[in-house]
């Protein structure tokens, strides 16, 4: 069920989800997006440019986090604006062949602001990896019926 504007209030929780990430997921995202920077799939290259290891694409994290909002809104087309700053990398361990996650990203969201004229809600996302926020000012503007 999609929310209607009138039933929303600022501070309202829209729920959360955990996203498990593997090195294979990063290869898939590289192929799907066309971003083949080797820091997202090659350990030696990543450590060679002074990173602690292979890191997720910021755009992978941003893209995966917004699914919470699409599902809550009932229609991904309701997301009319979406922004973030990338503040910390998501380090993805090599768990190839084990079935374990290489990283777990926790996403939660709350209504941050409402605009009655535009009938939009701003959803503020909290996106955490390893106890630290990896996205800052992650905000999705949702147009509601």
């Amino acid at each position: 069920m999609s929310p209607t504007f009138e039933e929303l209030s600022v501070g309202q929780d829209i729920g959360g989800r955990s996203i498990e990430v593997t090195r294979q997921d990063l290869v898939k995202y590289a192929g799907a997006s066309g971003d083949f920077n080797p820091i997202h799939w090659n350990e030696a290259f990543a450590t060679g440019v002074e990173l602690p290891g292979v890191i997720a694409h910021g755009m992978f994290t941003m893209g995966a986090a917004v699914q919470l909002v699409s599902d809550w809104a009932g229609d991904p087309a309701a997301v009319v604006d979406y922004q973030t700053r990338f503040t910390k990398p998501v380090l993805v361990s090599d768990t190839t062949g084990t079935g374990d996650a290489g990283a777990v990203i926790d996403v939660s969201g709350a209504v941050g602001a409402l605009d009655a004229d535009a009938r939009t809600a701003r959803v503020d996302l909290t996106v955490v990896f390893d106890g630290q926020k990896v996205l800052m000012k992650a905000q999705a503007l949702v147009r509601l019926a």
Binding site: G63, S70, D75, D81, Y82, F86
Partner: protein
């Protein structure tokens, strides 16, 4: 290598057309672990009033990063891609992107700011859908800042 300060205010006209295919929307949606049926099932998308599959909210990054590549690969720009870090990103959708859209992007360099030995470069892509004939419709505006790390940064 230093960033050319004259980049600010430069723009790159719309180059190649990006044809949005249903399988590409499904592939991108799976890659960001999206499960909403409007990305996968044409009937579900049409049931929400859309003409075809709906692209995920960050799908436009494919088109925007192709436009950015014109700048990054421009030898006059002086950008070392291996030292590029994505600092921030914004998508403003004037309408959703649908399967069947034919998109073009105009790239604008809105800001170049020296930071230590590197630079922060802010770009904006204006993405349009081509209509029949000469018309084009604004679809998305994407803004991104990239930090080009200097030596020792």
């Amino acid at each position: 290598m230093t960033i050319n300060p004259d980049l600010q205010g430069r723009s790159y006209p719309a180059a190649e057309v990006y044809d949005v295919g249903r399988e590409k929307i499904r592939e991108f949606a799976r890659a960001v672990k999206a499960t909403h049926p409007a990305h996968f099932d044409v009937d579900a998308a049409q049931g929400l009033g859309h003409p075809d599959l709906v692209a995920p909210p960050t799908f436009a990054i494919i088109v925007a990063q192709r436009a950015d590549a014109q700048l990054i690969e421009d030898p006059e720009a002086g950008i070392d891609f291996s030292r590029v870090v994505h600092a921030d990103q914004r998508f403003t959708h004037h309408r959703p992107i649908f399967a069947g859209d034919r998109l073009v992007a105009e790239l604008h360099v809105d800001g170049v700011r020296a930071m230590g030995g590197g630079a922060m470069i802010t770009t904006r892509s204006e993405i349009f859908a081509l209509g029949d004939g000469n018309g084009r419709e604004p679809v998305s505006t994407t803004k991104s800042s990239i930090l080009v790390r200097g030596e020792g940064q």
